[in-house]
């Protein structure tokens, strides 16, 4: 039997053929942590009596969660990170650089075949570049920083095959919500998910990152997309390191293959307060919202704002709704400025925030008050995620977000585009 992408990457790393169920210790190519998790990792290293990290060039810190600091407590954590980074020679992407999962690939630090640990569950986003990238807690990250290694159980792999052409008003976010609605929140627990099929091949890198990003909402250990010419072209603009395409074998041994038809997928919504409560937007049309957020490591890339502007341009954000747009990184922000997108968003009545997690995690910049309702392009809609425990969050694509912002109520983007 042939090997899945996961098995190929891990076998190469370990230096022999590995199989699902085995426990292995292996080298880690990149470890990163942010202001939500790095401070605890620093505390763990101190507690263990380890005062030097093993290989600082393989460690990155990012200040993205509560950035810029909304209060003194967050500011103090940022100081702790800066001091540790500087005394250990670790590169730090400070306030304003953007969200870790967007910044690291943009800086050319990710390549196909790498093994990456991030102290953040959405580290799986980097699977879009054919790297085995998985989220861990602060302790596992700290140990990997100290030793350059980690242990894990080789996961079974499942394939998600999407074929065909997506409708014009349907985005990668709708595709992944369709998959999550079917697989449910634990449907891929401990499992490696690989996204295949003609629809995925046809997707931009921005779109592929959305698929990988939300694979963790099904419990997946990683969410991989094969690295093809498009992947390499995107990376070559950012690194001079040698790069190779990476695909699963034709006869790879997947535990199961789930097939989806692109034509059947409609604009989708995830209903409060669990990501796997998925329904077509048309079923919920008319529900009022107070806030629309276009941003995060899931919905704050250039393509997302370009799509949203197909509806927002020439329209206005409805009275009584605040529409917050926050780019996922400085690179995205710069392109928005260069291409006039920022101006168009502002003209439509959006508030443009800095590159930050901010509203996605209810840390600042768009926190929801009691009983408020938001529609967001971010990753999660758990109780209290974006603010008060009585507030509610719907998740949807940037197109649905734009249509909803203009109407002030949940609206199928097809109404503007078809």
């Amino acid at each position: 039997m042939g090997m899945t992408l996961t098995e190929k990457i891990l076998s190469k790393k370990v230096g022999r053929e590995v199989h699902p169920g085995e426990y292995i210790a292996m080298d880690v190519d990149l470890v990163y942590a942010h202001d939500g998790t790095a401070p605890l990792a620093i505390d763990v290293l101190k507690e263990l009596g380890i005062d030097r990290v093993r290989n600082p060039s393989r460690i990155k810190f990012i200040i993205d969660h509560a950035a810029p600091a909304p209060h003194v407590e967050a500011a103090a954590l940022h100081i702790q990170m800066r001091e540790f980074a500087s005394s250990n020679g670790i590169e730090i992407f400070d306030v304003g650089n953007g969200i870790s999962h967007q910044v690291l690939p943009e800086k050319g630090l990710v390549k196909p075949g790498m093994v990456i640990l991030g102290a953040d569950s959405h580290t799986v986003t980097l699977g879009a570049f054919g790297s085995f990238a998985t989220g861990v807690g602060s302790t596992d990250a700290a140990i990997a920083m100290a030793k350059g290694k980690t242990w894990l159980r080789i996961p079974e792999s499942i394939a998600i095959k999407v074929d065909g052409r997506l409708r014009d008003c349907v985005m990668a976010k709708d595709v992944i919500l369709e998959i999550i609605g079917y697989m449910k929140s634990d449907g891929a627990n401990y499992i490696a998910m690989e996204f295949l099929g003609s629809t995925v091949e046809g997707m931009s890198i921005d779109s592929r990152m959305v698929l990988s990003n939300m694979s963790v909402e099904m419990g997946a250990k990683v969410g991989l997309v094969p690295a093809d010419k498009k992947t390499l072209d995107w990376l070559k603009r950012r690194t001079s390191k040698p790069l190779k395409e990476l695909r699963p074998d034709e006869n790879a041994d997947y535990q199961i293959v789930h097939e989806f038809k692109a034509e059947d997928i409609k604009p989708n919504l995830s209903l409060p307060s669990n990501v796997d409560r998925v329904k077509p937007v048309e079923d919920l049309e008319g529900a009022k919202v107070n806030e629309v957020f276009i941003g995060s490591c899931s919905g704050g890339r250039l393509e997302d704002f370009m799509q949203a502007l197909r509806i927002l341009r020439g329209n206005k954000v409805s009275q009584g709704v605040r529409c917050i747009a926050a780019p996922a990184s400085r690179e995205v922000y710069m392109k928005m400025l260069e291409r006039g997108l920022a101006k168009d968003l502002a003209e439509a009545g959006c508030v443009i925030g800095p590159p930050t997690c901010g509203p996605c995690i209810g840390a600042h910049m768009g926190v929801l008050g009691p009983n408020e309702i938001a529609l967001s392009t971010s990753t999660r809609n758990f109780v209290g995620r974006m603010g008060d425990p009585t507030s509610k969050v719907y998740l949807a694509s940037p197109l649905t977000a734009a249509a909803t912002a203009v109407r002030g109520q949940i609206t199928d983007p097809g109404r503007f585009l078809l």
């Binding site: 263990l48 009596g49 861990v136 807690g137 634990d186 627990n189 840390a363 758990f382 109780v383």
Partner: protein, 164 residues
């Protein structure tokens, strides 16, 4: 042997339920975060929980964020173990690392039932309802970490990690 009262919870208890992200950033230390444990779902949990109490939950416990604070805080407020039908991957790893036993078992329980867990032999008992359920005991590597009370204590005692 872990002994305590049961706290019954449902499916998909997320790390945001355990420690909401928005509150976690308001304070600096785990000690200060204690008061926010289960803030949005169980009022004053950290004051009402007693040492050794056991959470009995449904499927996919610890779903969501990688924040290890969730597992650490449960241990810190006195939770003796979490029994759930299944666990989310990162939470499971974190709980072992911090020495909070996470037990995959399906046992009937209501709030305040008396529960007992025998980790070495893989048995969880509901004494109040006289039910007993078996679960596969941890592999040696994980049991070694749990016996030491977490990976930090393991490292301090042995000078290496279990897989080294």
């Amino acid at each position: 042997m872990i002994k305590g009262r049961a706290w019954k919870l449902g499916d998909d208890i997320t790390t945001d339920h355990i420690i909401p992200g928005r509150l976690k950033y308001k304070v600096r230390t785990l000690e200060e975060m204690k008061k926010y444990v289960f803030h949005d779902v169980i009022p004053e949990f950290s004051e009402r929980v007693r040492k050794g109490d056991v959470i009995i939950a449904g499927k996919n416990f610890g779903y969501g964020s990688s924040r290890e604070h969730a597992a650490r805080l449960l241990k810190l407020v006195g939770v003796g173990a979490v029994v759930a039908k299944s666990f989310a991957r990162i939470f499971y790893r974190n709980s072992i690392n911090v020495g909070l036993p996470a037990v995959e078992a399906d046992i009937e329980a209501e709030d305040k039932d008396n529960v007992e867990i025998d980790l070495e032999n893989g048995i969880v008992r509901n004494m109040t309802r006289e039910i007993e359920v078996n679960f596969p005991p941890y592999p040696d590597l994980i049991m070694a970490i749990i016996r030491e009370g977490g990976i930090e204590s393991y490292y301090k005692r042995w000078g290496k990690f279990p897989w080294e």
